[in-house]
């Protein structure tokens, strides 16, 4: 079974604090991590390989240092990695990102399943997975909570999707693209054996020249239909904290209940 996992390197927000004066990000040092949702995608890919055999390839589009995210994925046990990095890709929005990934995946050849995280924690759009599936013309199964069944013989898969109202089970034909949510599994750590392999593995970096049929006007900033025109701080929350002081829980609860009723939101 040929499994492809798409990952993104994102800033590690656990280091991020907000400057209360300006409402902007303060970062202590700059570290990057694999997007947390993509960790679940990598783990799911490895589990499928362990069950059905085959190969797991990770792919990432990003600046040169995104190679570190790919190395970490290899350190977890993925077989191969491909980096997509070129100044021509810089500034891609979700459309251009999906387009570029689709060209690279077409070049990689036959595959059975593509795994992505449900969204990246920096952009939060969740649109690259569906965009990529559409550009490749394959079935998309988003917000997957569990792979219920996979039958390589008949080329079918059944997954449980997490929706607002609950969950649903969807059956589909392979190849398919899945975006996964947290808690589909518990991602493993890197292992010494695989880290050593990662240090020896030569990870190819593909540029525009490596993507057959790439339309230069559809790449990067130029190929992105959306354009950011303004960046601003989110409006601050109005009003100061009203800390309720009272004699005991009953009294505090009574005061709070009155105040909330007075807000006329219930």
């Amino acid at each position: 079974m040929n499994i492809i996992v798409c990952i993104k390197q994102v800033p590690d927000t656990t280091n991020v604090k907000i400057n209360p004066e300006t409402n902007t990000l303060i970062r202590e040092g700059v570290s990057s991590i694999i997007n947390p949702f993509d960790m679940y995608a990598i783990e799911e890919g490895l589990r499928l390989k362990e069950k059905f055999g085959g190969k797991v390839t990770v792919i990432s589009l990003g600046p040169p240092q995104s190679i570190n995210a790919l190395k970490e994925a290899v350190g977890m046990g993925t077989d191969e990695a491909v980096q997509l990095s070129d100044r021509a890709f810089a500034g891609s929005d979700s459309w251009a990102t999906a387009y570029t990934l689709s060209l690279a995946i077409k070049k990689m050849g036959e595959f059975d399943i593509i795994l992505c995280g449900k969204q990246a924690i920096d952009g939060d759009t969740g649109q690259v997975g569906p965009g990529l599936a559409s550009q490749l013309g394959i079935t998309q199964l988003t917000y997957v909570f569990k792979i219920v069944r996979l039958d390589p013989g008949t080329g079918t898969i059944a997954v449980e999707r997490l929706l607002e109202e609950g969950r649903e089970i969807v059956e589909a034909k392979l190849p398919a693209l899945l975006t996964v949510v947290k808690n589909i599994n518990q991602p493993r750590s890197t292992s010494l054996f695989h880290i050593r392999r990662a240090s020896q593995l030569i990870i190819p970096t593909w540029t525009v020249a490596d993507l057959p049929g790439a339309d230069p006007s559809s790449l990067g900033l130029k190929g992105s239909p959306t354009q950011v025109i303004k960046i601003f701080s989110p409006p601050k929350r109005e009003g100061a904290l009203d800390l309720i002081k009272a004699d005991g829980a009953e009294e505090a609860a009574a005061i709070l209940a009155d105040k909330i009723i007075a807000e006329k939101i219930l």
Partner: protein, 399 residues
Amino acid sequence: MPLLDIDKDKCVGCGACIDACPFGALSLVDDMVVVNDKCTGCGACLLACPMHALSLPDKRPKEATANLADYSGVWVWVEQFNGQTGDISMEMLGQGRKLADQRKAALTACVLGHHVEHITKEAISFGADRVFWVDNESLGSYTTAPYASTLINLIHEYKPEIFLLGASARGRDLAGSVASLLHTGLTADCTGLDIDPENGLLMQTRPAFGGNIMATIICPHHRPQMATVRYRVFEKPVADCHRQGQVIPVKAAMSADRLTAHVVDSILEKDEVNLADARVIVSGGHGVGGPAGFETLRKLAEVLGGAVGSSRSAVDAGWISYAHQVGQTGRTVRPDLYIACGISGQIQHLAGMKTSKVIVAINTNPEAPIFNVANYGIVGDLFQIVPALTKQFKKRLHK
């Protein structure tokens, strides 16, 4: 092409932008800021610069959609599940009506499903002038392909200028597919939509980096301008059942026998209110102590007609299922009332709830960061305060 413009006449080399860059792309060379190729053009540094020396470059050399002027009107996808619509579609019809009026154009609702004729009237009563009504077995349970292909056919034929979908699981699934196949821009999870009075473009505002910065995004050269809209951002309009509108039956693009994906079962969370739609959320964190503690919260939620949420630590500890998680790796919610019980308020949790209308924090630690975003706070033991609150609300709400 550089992703960041630095005005060298304005830059004083203070370095404020360097700390603000999430990617470590900025540094000082000879007391002047320089940008390296780690830059993604996210714009987080723009706010930090006291001299306004930084800007995102103007670009767009190419017109991608031919004959932009042929596109007019605002469309809304009316999501339904088992023949029932959610508030989010009505909220979008309300905002869509305003946008359509500003553009002096019609508002169209797209109602897709099986046995969903009743929704066409509902859409008109909430502001639609016209409804495309597609009734087919292939649309009975939502799957991407039949919905996307039907909408794409309609868009090719009728050419809307703006197309809005809810930022629900289905809405985001569908929007990503449709925008990709149409080769147009899509702005996900918008919390603001306005028309630029000068050029008539849709200005789409959304949070990024867990809500730490806001970005306004346009789609100048592609049509339709597509956006998904977060729950509970816009007011739900009052229905007017006397409103008149046109209902146009349309054929589905795929027949049921051509589907490649099938919904075979639904597992609905019984007795649970949908978090995304909830007006009140009672949420618990580390301080709740275990699964039994959530029962205490559930009683308060019940009295308030709300849903139960949780922080990540409670989910990771296995006290409550992931479907309840609020925050960066869970759901983003925007209720009228959010009661945080035993939640310290880490940045990742705040990202998911800080735009709630009224926030109440109950915590034993007076230094907990949750108090920084709360409107009301009680320092104390949630196991005493929450049952007391339940009792007090029961009394006041006559339940």
